[in-house]
Amino acid sequence: MLSLTSPVETPAHGWRVGPKLLALAGLTLGLFLPAPGWPALALALAVLVAAALAAGRWAILAAWLRLFRPLWPFALLLILWHGVTRTPLEGAVILLRMAAAMGAANLVTMTTRLADLQGLVLWLMRPLAPILPAKPLAIAIALMIRFVPVMSDRAAQLAQAWPARSSRRARARLMAPRALAALDDADRVAEALRARGGAL
């Protein structure tokens, strides 16, 4: 399962994860604090341009731009809404600060290895160790990632058998064996895990 981390090595790949995330959090907070107006617009634009320049310099611009796809429906909605109510400045601020926050966050995602992020998360969760111990959590994360391709192969088989006009009951009857298969798999994988020493 490919993560969103860029295979192209950038200087940011080597920066420490904790500071990177803290900087991102601070930046996002700063973006959303001012009320919608010209200063807020300028700030959002500045952040967005800075992120784009960094991405360009690090040769990850194309991939970075592609990560903006989730923004489309909101962009459309805002353009329509603020066009109709004739409040373009407000709409522009909302859209740009969302884009800026997202662009900065995606830069962090692209320049941080999953293993490093996971390491940070596990370190942060140390106080929760009595209820959520680190080792089973790490195994659970790996197990989930391992099974996403397996599950999505099954889901793909399902999608083929899911024509738009089939009845609801027919679809449920198709999906139930898949759910059952997932449950059986869970039992067998649990046994394999116990055979190799267990989760604790």
């Binding site: 489309w72 909101f74 459309l76 909302i94 994360i141 999906m175 059952l180 267990g198």
Partner: protein, 180 residues
């Protein structure tokens, strides 16, 4: 212990896989996806605690940077969009669905439908609507109107989740951890 772990991990993987089923797109990029049905199933089959953990694991791995949100989206950047409420609401929705499931006696299918609606829709919208309001800079009422378009699709999902849960209960009654 290991059984709980594998159930949580595999159902989290299932939620991710459901994001890859072709979506019915209301807007380009904003579709009705099967993913929230996965959340419903976590609650109705695994129960509140394990179901909530499964959905929570999904959100964790999503934020760690795996493109497992519907349409291959992922990473912390998603938290900056209007979807933030729905994302963070997943574990609560699954937990609520599981809780309702354990409280309702009677036919599995009916209970699962109620649990899916109460958990997978009402609780989820309770998180999703404020999130969308914040992201889009709109009021709660305005965001709620936008989310109205999700209701028909979600009702279909709840019905499907009920059907699947009921089929599982019939085939493997012991596997229904939500009513153990």
């Amino acid at each position: 212990m290991e059984r709980h772990l594998t159930h949580v991990a595999l159902f989290a993987a299932m939620i991710a896989a459901l994001g890859l089923i072709p979506r019915f797109e209301v807007f380009p990029g904003l579709g009705i996806t099967a993913q929230s049905m996965g959340v419903m199933l976590c609650g109705t089959i695994l129960g509140a605690r394990l179901g909530g953990m499964a959905a929570g694991l999904f959100v964790l791995v999503l934020l760690l940077g795996l493109p497992i949100w519907a349409g291959g989206q992922g990473g912390v950047g998603l938290l900056a969009t209007g979807k933030v409420g729905f994302i963070l609401g997943f574990p609560f929705a699954a937990f609520a669905a599981g809780w309702v499931m354990s409280r309702l006696k009677g036919a599995v299918g009916v209970a699962a439908f109620a649990a899916s609606v109460l958990g997978g829709m009402i609780v989820l919208y309770a998180f999703g609507i404020p999130g969308m309001a914040w992201g889009l800079g709109k009021s709660l009422a305005e965001a709620a109107v936008i989310c109205l378009s999700f209701i028909p699709g979600d009702l279909v999902k709840a019905a499907l989740a009920a059907g699947i849960t009921s089929a599982v209960a019939k085939a493997r009654p012991a596997a229904l951890l939500s009513r153990g």
